[in-house]
Symmetry: C2
Subunit: 382 residues, 2 copies
């Protein structure tokens, strides 16, 4: 009984701090997740040391991030992606290639390993659709052409980011050779394509039948079965668990509206995702920032993260004028949660050092905080 009391108290403290810090950050027009990460930094082993290295907290955080990616997947309809056409795809692809290459080369030059360079590159590719979407919503510009380009590109980014993460995670678990990299790439692409082609078809056939079962919220129960099952499969074939979670959402996305899946997943999100961000923050070793060298590294990575998106995405739409190109680039800059997830997987699997982990988290927070005011300015007519 003593064990469970202790765990309940810690869960209470983690959850409550996350919500309070999230609220504070929202008041300063910053995303709540930065507050939740800061709560983790404060509760973590380097300051208050209130989160023990116990499996149960890791598992809750893992289920939290699975729910998060599941929700992201639920919002992506494969058909819609195919419709948005070339421009968004080009923005997404160049916006993935440039930051990856910049991050990869910089990390190699800074005398880290190839695997570390791959992880840092992977952490630089994602675009947080949530942050940018919110700014467009705030300014009532959701229906503008520029918003549609950016949001579709951010979604394609998510898919590309997942594939790159899958490859990098797989590469981190074997010997790093071109043959291995080829195999893991085939596996990752195969897993994603199989689920897009076969999974969605099976879902279309069986989900309506499941809806007729006697079990309460049977389709939601089925989506939890998918979430757990595909995460387990992805994890067991050496991709990251969250890739399975993401694909589970994607496979079910066409039923999202009909069975209110996002709405039902929202409570799981509200309860579990804060544990993920707090645990994420708790892994940041603040003492590293006493070394001035890390500030250099963090500053440079942040610079490359911004340049990568502004140049890459900007180039893709340069024909529509310099200002538009710049706006698209800035809109694609915030990294948000996906960049952090990549870094945390790298840290947990031992692929990247705690120093690089801290650097990536700094970069993600910086791009997420810096981009919105710029974007707001660019979008507001003088």
């Amino acid at each position: 009984m003593h064990g469970i009391t202790d765990i309940l108290f810690r869960l209470f403290i983690i959850f409550t701090s996350a919500k309070i810090m999230g609220e504070l950050f929202e008041r300063f027009k910053q995303p709540a997740l930065i507050g939740e990460i800061l709560a983790g930094v404060i509760l973590g082993p380097y300051l208050l040391n209130m989160i023990p290295q116990q499996e149960v907290y890791q598992v809750l955080a893992e289920i939290g991030v699975m729910v998060l990616l599941f929700t992201v997947g639920l919002h992506i309809k494969v058909e819609d992606i195919l419709k948005v056409g070339g421009r968004s795809t080009l923005v997404a692809v160049l916006g993935v290639v440039f930051p990856f290459v910049l991050g990869y080369i910089y990390t190699l030059i800074a005398e880290h390993s190839t695997l570390e360079a791959m992880f840092i590159g992977a952490a630089m590719v994602a675009t947080s659709v949530g942050i940018t979407a919110r700014i467009f919503a705030d300014l009532n510009l959701m229906d503008s052409e520029i918003a549609r380009i950016i949001l579709a590109a951010a979604v394609i980014d998510d898919i590309l980011g997942m594939i790159i993460l899958a490859i990098v995670t797989g590469a981190g678990q074997g010997t790093l050779s071109y043959v291995n990299l080829g195999i893991i790439t085939l596996e990752a692409v195969g897993f994603v394509l199989f689920l897009i082609l076969v999974g969605t078809r099976l879902a279309r056939r069986y989900v309506p039948r499941v809806a007729n079962l006697r079990t309460r919220n049977a389709v939601f129960a089925l989506s939890l079965i998918f979430l757990l099952g595909l995460s387990a499969v992805a994890s067991s074939i050496k991709l990251a668990a969250i890739i399975g979670a993401f694909m589970a959402g994607l496979v079910l996305s066409e039923f999202n509206y009909q069975f209110q899946l996002t709405q039902k997943a929202e409570s799981l999100y509200d309860f579990l995702v804060p544990f993920f961000f707090v645990i994420l923050g708790s892994r940041v070793d603040l003492s590293l920032f006493a070394d001035s060298g890390i500030w250099m590294g963090a500053g440079l990575i942040t610079l490359f993260a911004i340049l990568g998106k502004v140049i890459g995405c900007g180039l893709a739409v340069i024909k529509s004028g310099l200002k538009n190109a710049f706006t698209v680039g800035v809109g694609m800059t915030p990294r948000g949660e996906v960049g952090m997830i990549v870094a945390s997987i790298g840290l947990a699997s031992g692929a990247i050092s705690s120093k690089l982990y801290a650097v990536v988290l700094f970069m993600v927070v910086a791009t997420t905080v810096l981009a919105p005011p710029f974007l707001r300015k660019l979008l507001t007519p003088k």
Copy 2:
């Protein structure tokens, strides 16, 4: 990484089996929870041995049962209880006293300890409002007088059951003396009364302010904070954690409708409660049933469980005729989840043997399965 893969696979298997067995049982007009328990018996250490003795499964089950009791609490408005008046209260009180005394005396006579007798008594008092309510709903009799008496009495039962469980749990952790029993009774009653009197008032004052915060679903987040916090407090003052969870629901029940708390908690329920019932079932040592003695014990306890409610509750409404009295008694007979929760706390804390645990589970399943067809017959006009 290997650890998390293993855990995800087991979570997938536990959840999927629970949902499949639940669906099967619902098809045979039986409550899903019995199917979920059976899934646990099958997956448990005595048959397939697929659920390791690992903290993470216990914690998920514990959060599951907390969510369950939280939801029960959410449906209880203190004002409504005060309104239903004497008859339901009498049905509840006599329906608690008779089964408790019968269970207590029988267990003592069967040469078990006083503490075991107290736990068995406590496991016999609860009435599962869900099972009975469903039958009334099926027969379109929700608005009948008899339904209102039974449902209100079942709710009062829950509160009395929680107080008795609190006392018994507390008693199980100290030396068993009248002084100790007095202290723990005061503590349990004090905790419940304090939250009813002060907690609801504070909630009335601060919940509307919380609703204005920027955090998404702020009131739901607050109720999760209450759920975790009060469970931790209850657990630390030696009451059971679920008593805190139940009181968290009760304190917030008047805001249930306005902020759709039940609806939001439903997804957490759908996801987490199956883990509780599966773990509950996994603790049943089937080999015990090879001994014919246990069948005797299980049969007798079940008989006393039925007699206790039929006589106790029947007596309370005997003035309205024998058939009505019998109907009320039968309607109060199904024990459902609360009886099992008491037994599982007794087993986990070492207060009752695995043999008595199996006996109680048998009794709960038997009363839950047997009562509905009888009640249906009694309520259907010839």
